[in-house]
């Protein structure tokens, strides 16, 4: 993850925000956010800006690809823009889903190193698994909170994106017999208040494993 790894910090001074410049000319952290919901775009943009990240928000997967220069006629846009350090995309979008966008990004030699995070209001195991298998860094539950984004940018900025994220290490088994979604509670019984899927506790008993 050369792009994310380029902004390495040994430790953050107490009053410096996650994406803040060190004052020594380090680049700003640039996030590309993709969501078809107007409300969600405004919220995610504000969340990221409050952490001093540069943000580009687009409404669809195809717009995201156009911005990156992977598709469309206006393919010069991506080259002039600040390099993207992280892509956060909604899963359920008309046209191209977040999963399909993820596949396209991971299938591109130019952009496959960019960490991609999927956001969804529905926590369906098969969906989460599918995204992780395709190379998503994380699967965040909506509504996304400041603490989720803070945690995310912190570990990516520290170059830990080179290591497989905790969640990906604990990939859920494919052998679950059925899908079910958790309306609100995280997978784990951790005291971790984050709502993202980053759990190490055993699966609920309902899910049979081979």
């Amino acid at each position: 993850m050369a792009a994310a790894g380029a902004v390495l910090r040994q430790k953050l001074p107490g009053n410096m925000d996650i994406c803040g410049r060190s004052g020594k000319g380090s680049p700003e952290f640039h996030v590309l956010a993709v969501d078809d919901s107007l409300v969600d775009r405004k919220v995610i943009e504000k969340l990221l800006r409050s952490l001093s990240c540069k943000v580009t928000v687009v409404e669809s997967g195809s717009r995201a690809l156009q911005f990156l220069g992977l598709e469309g006629e206006d393919s010069s846009v991506g080259f002039d823009a600040l390099p993207v350090n992280l892509i956060m995309t909604d899963y359920s979008m008309p046209g191209m889903t977040g999963y399909e966008l993820l596949k396209k990004i991971k299938g591109s030699s130019a952009f496959r190193e960019i960490p991609v995070v999927i956001m969804s209001s529905e926590r369906i195991l098969a969906r989460i698994n599918r995204c992780l298998e395709e190379g998503a860094e994380e699967f965040l539950s909506k509504p996304v909170k400041l603490s989720d984004v803070e945690r995310l940018t912190r570990y990516l900025l520290r170059g830990e994106a080179d290591q497989v994220s905790e969640f990906r290490k604990r990939k859920l088994p494919k052998t679950c017999d059925f899908e079910f979604s958790f309306p609100s509670s995280p997978l784990s019984n951790d005291s971790d208040s984050s709502s993202s899927s980053r759990s190490s506790s055993p699966l609920p008993k309902r899910c049979k494993s081979v």
Partner: protein, 163 residues
Amino acid sequence: MSRFHGNTQPPAGSVLEQLLAKYVDYMDSLRRESFLDDQFTQLLKLQDENNPDFVGEVVSLFFQDSERLIGNMGTALGKKSVDYKQVDADVHQLKGSSSSIGAVRIKNVCVFFRNLCEAKNLEGCYRCLHEVTQECVVLKNKLNTLFMLQKQIVAAGGSIPVD
């Protein structure tokens, strides 16, 4: 946590103290009655001097969006051959955006509404459509009251309490 979080203790009996107390009580009642949840507070916390109307803007977008979606649902349900998948897609959108601003009651109606779409229950869908429309009207009024109180607090020299 102090009721006056973010404010230095105002003089007892002062207008500001009364406004703050009224605000906190009102906010508590909105939470108790599930009009709003913690997600709304999260948005308030994001509001700052650079973006003092952030929450108002998000809320405004929400109501614009919900009106559009509700209109679509009404049109779709009125067709001879109802496309329940389309209605469901619109309900899903509304569920998402209501959840993003912490509008719990609206979100809950949407959850129920989706089940009725799946069951292709036309009468049930119409009931939900009516209910979700009502909930939006009620929430809009509640938020107007809340925003009014916020303005009064700021005008009296205070700052909006966030937990």
